[in-house]
């Protein structure tokens, strides 16, 4: 599964990396983000890109599991 780690990056890098990944259109991917706000905006972008999203909270980050 494609894993994209966006932790620690400034705006708008997490969204840019997500957008790039959506263009590549893998069937499944995991996106790591480091804040709740980022989590929401990345989730929105993934859903717009036709993915269903499951979120898991880690100790220092959130994992967004996206599936076509």
């Amino acid at each position: 599964m494609k894993i994209i780690d966006t932790c620690g990056l400034s705006c708008p890098q997490p969204l840019m990396l997500t957008k790039q990944a959506i263009v590549e259109s893998p069937p499944e991917m995991e996106i790591l983000v480091d804040s709740h706000a980022r989590c929401q905006s990345v989730e929105e972008l993934l859903k717009e890109g036709g993915y269903s999203v499951k979120i898991k909270e880690n100790s220092e980050s959130f994992s967004l599991f996206a599936k076509k």
């Binding site: 620690g8 990056l9 708008p12 890098q13 840019m16």
Partner: protein
Amino acid sequence: MKKNLGIITAGLLIGVLSVLLVKLGNPANMGFCIACFIRDTAGALGLHSAGVVQYIRPEIIGLVFGSFVAALAAKEFKAKAGSAPFTRFILGVGVMIGALMFLGCPFRMVLRIAGGDLNAVIGLIGFVCGIFGGIFFLNKGFNLKRNYSISSFEGYIFPVVLVGLLVLAIVAPPFIKISTEGPGSMSAPIFISLAAGFLVGFLGQKTRLCMVGGLRDAVLFKSGYLLWGFLAIIVSAAIMNFVFGYFHVGFEGQPVAHSDGLWNFLGMLVVGWGSVLLGGCPLRQLVLSGEGNSDSIITILGLLVGAAICHNFALASAPSGPSFNGKIAVILVIAVLAIISVVNSGILKKERV
């Protein structure tokens, strides 16, 4: 639309607060101005000696406190650092040079537009061009690399230092300089300024309000979320300006502003471009500093030192117009922004391959 309701409400409230601060004593169209207020604070601390712009602005302190409390309450306070700190410092200096060419940060630009100042519309055009410049390099891979978690203690130092600054503002010992004339002498009562700043910081943390993020995200992701906040401030501040009789449309005779279109344009171009590279406008940097982001604190120090440089080297504009030194400085900053943009994007690497 429902998800935008929060940021629209926050924007409307911030617009109202900004004009109320003017009513209570702040300079006209300057209920809030992150650049001007950091500049005034630099003056109060003796970092520059421009007698008319020296005052520890409690709005700045309140803003960081507001964001700090909101972040703590939401368990979003995280001490972080290490994303190109010195580059960010330099960008902070550059953004301040641009802002003091125009006479305002993006926040004040919005408030100036809401007061009918058409020079700020020229500034907005420059700001938009600067944002597009930044977006061009983002699309080329511009990136200041990631930050890392650090000891929480590091994140708490800044709010504690600001408590000290607040004490100095209240006690006003003789070594703190306070303007007796000019914009620095005009201020709302300390605790009202502090409370207004707190509210803006709190709302800013909750909504991620960012003047540069609005257009950037609209262009890159077709997301209008942040843009709604930007527009809401203009609408409510304009209405309040009408109510209080502060609304005057025109180029000439606008408060704490000059009417040199080219340099208003270029000043805000620098601010827009620099802010995109930083990942957020000066207001957003203050909010991030309250969330524990030390890279943003370094950026604020860049703004502070930039303000001192602007007044010590006669770079800042006056209501009569920009200075020769200021024009040279803005051109130099544009060159520095270009270098930082190119070096930190993939452009050079691709050429080598």
